[in-house]
Amino acid sequence: MFEKIKSFLINRYRSLDKGLLHASFILILFGIFLTFAASPAVAERNHFDSFHFIKRQFVFLGPALLVLFLTSFLSFQQIRRVSGLIFLGALICMFYVSFWGSEINGARRWIYIGSIGLQPSEFMKPAFAVICAWLLASGRLIKQFPGYLIACFLYSIVAFLLFKQPDVGMLLTISGIFCVQLFLSGIPFFIVGLLGGGLVMLGMTAYLTLDHVHARVNRFLNPEQGEAYQVEKSLETLQNAGWFGKGPGEGIVKYELPDAHTDFILAVSAEEFGFILTACLILVFAFIVLRGFWLMRQENNYFCQIAVAGLLTQIAFQAIVNMGSTLNLLPTKGMTLPFISYGGSSLVSIAFAFGIILGLTRCHTLSRGLE
């Protein structure tokens, strides 16, 4: 029995895409490094013990790795089922949170189990990508299956709940995922254009109706108002980073940025490790995204293509928005950098998403064998 499990695990492990797997390990290592660099300053400022955030992050590291591997070993069908379950669970939790959750900084997003906070929408994202991919693929390939309709219906529910919380960052991510998936499902370019317009409309609505979105965009457009404190500090820091940075632990921006360990961790990285290492970090993200899409171009499983594309979009979108706002290319949007930023539920959910990517890309070896 033990032998069987062992050989099963070894087989499964061997069939994983090593490029993606190792890239994810590199990101996790980066994340540990940067949490060590950035979080003690934040912890001390908030009157915690210096290693407060590091300890909490380590508590989640084990479960995250477990989730990563377990998910990657799942078969397509299991992935679909697990995603379905998680999607349902997360949706219920989000529903509960949106209406009865406790308010933090003007939004209801968190659910608490003991002292551990979970953000159900974080887990909903990958599950949503998988479910949508399945619906869209089936809708395209099986006649009389209203996959598009159901997908759109699910999207509207999720979008409504996120708007209600409100969590515009998450809403934009979900919308991005959904758009890419619709795009891949072969809808005409005409409708793609319409969707693009719709997304712009959505952004405008958020800008006009939600105060904090309004404020943030204004701040981005008029930096001279002196309100973009964090971005200003971040830019100031980057200015004296140079090729090699100041060296680990030598940075000072972390003492002045409230979100040094989450939204602005790239600034800490640039300041302490310099351009070269930070560029490496960006390249790892680019590698993961491009490698994933590259594999999908060789993939002949339609569901698999759309699902992986959605998940990769999620990771790419979060990374680009996070880095973009640190570099003052985009308005600040409270989005975490996958694998890097501090945050337990964010780490586990990214591990889950990445596990699915690994699980879905795994079949690639086989499909080549089939041809």
Partner: protein, 576 residues
Amino acid sequence: MRHKKEVFYYAGLEVPIDPMDKYRCLDAATLGALEKAKSRIAIIMVFFTICFGIILGRLFYLTVVNYQSRQFIPSALQTEIPLIRHNIKDRNGIEIAMSVPTKDLSINPKRTKNPEEVAKQLVRIFPDLSRSDILRKIHAGGSFRYIKRNITPAEQNAVNWLGYYFLNLEDGEKRIYLQNNLFSHIIGTVNIDNQGTSGLEKTYDKELSERDLYLSLDLSVQEMTRRSLEKGIEKYKAQGGLGLVMDVNTGEVLASVSLPDYNPNLPLENDPDKLFNKATLGSYEFGSVFKLFNTAMALESKDIQPWDVFDASEPIKIGRKLLADYRGQNRPLTVAEILMHSSNVGSVRIALKAGYQKQREFLGRFGFYKQLPIGLPERATPQFPKAQKWADITSANVAFGYGISVSPLHLIAAVSALVNGGYYRVPTFIKDGNKGMPEYRVISQRTSDIMRHLMWSVINWDIKETNPIFPYAVGGKTGSANLLENGKYVKGTLRTTFVGVFPMNAPRYAVLVVLDNPHGIKETWNFNTAGWNAKPIGLEIITQIAPYLGVAPQEHWEQPAYIQRSIEASKAAKKR
């Protein structure tokens, strides 16, 4: 897994075929969809490549292209903070006013979260702030409010540890006045934004942004003058007073004190008396001191000679007004004796002899009719009789110092011109401020020489009796004028003046002391005229500053015959 027959293994790839693989049956429709998806995946890849490319490029631009080496010193520890406003120093380079870099703490009310807690934490750091005040600022809205200007490094650190991103620290600077009250009026003040609002700070606002300012004032002379004056004011129960020391040859002011004064380091008190610079902004009638100019005028026009004698045996009637002497000698007096005993009658006779037109023209030479062109915003406008009203009665009053009021600075500059050989220089508060500036001859060398002897005799004819060990060759004149209140002279109240010059054989410095409303005390037999209060203070100042300024004690100075005769006559009259 052997019992599961449907599981199929490829050789070397013992991985089960996934049952989900039904999409792999590649019919035409599926193939079409796949091809479309693959081409669109290429589009998405291009899109993300561009995005990551932009981010990389931006990072490169910000970190490498835009690189500014800061030598890895945390910004809080950097020492090379440029001082925007430069220092003010005395003539020997001792700092009077300097700027220290500080931080200004401001808040962004729009972004403030949890105002109650913020206010509580801020009050913990700044116990002098009130909680309701901070809350009011936060609730007032807007995106910028100062919480506290010029906070200390320790407070700065405490604020940083709060970690509130809506609290901002920006570079500021604070003006420190190292000598506290000593120079308050002359230096003036700056506002919270370090712009000069009064005194030299205001006049030299622009220069101070470029270089240090060296004053003509001397810290030690200023301190000695202020201390003597302060003691004197207390002793004679005066309301206030002023003291000036001036270099008679260059016009540089060495000391300028006006009491009461204020400490510019403390928040300004709303006390007009303290903020008022009597030395430059005050405009006063100086009484008998003007007899010096009256005499000089007549000497200069050769209407009188120093050995002339004038009848002062009885009051003189001008128009319907009878003018008498204060404690008169009631005998004929020489020109020197008229000054020694400060005879109003004698002075009026001199003025009448010269005529009022000459008098009016003469006083104009000393700038008595216009504001002094000095580098201070606080300048007095003199008051004097209109030209058409300047007739005998006016002239008689002006002869002993009534009807014309000028600032103390006017007076000391004019007295300097009387003794320095006849050159008038505009007073200056800046070191070497009169170098290269024109000087005006106002009286001849001869008149100046005579004036020196006359002024010497005024102080010295009986100094051996009042102050037998006084070592310096001082000359000068005292004056006491009734205080004006609502356009009427108040009997018994006086403004007493002493002006002195030393050393009289080769004048270098002039000293002016003015007391506001001194009272008679036991030691002065209840007299309150200048000779009893302003003069001792002036001599006290001279005793202190003369050694510091390198003035040697009096050598023998041969007096002309007319002075010797006058002194003998006065001594004889006194014995009688």
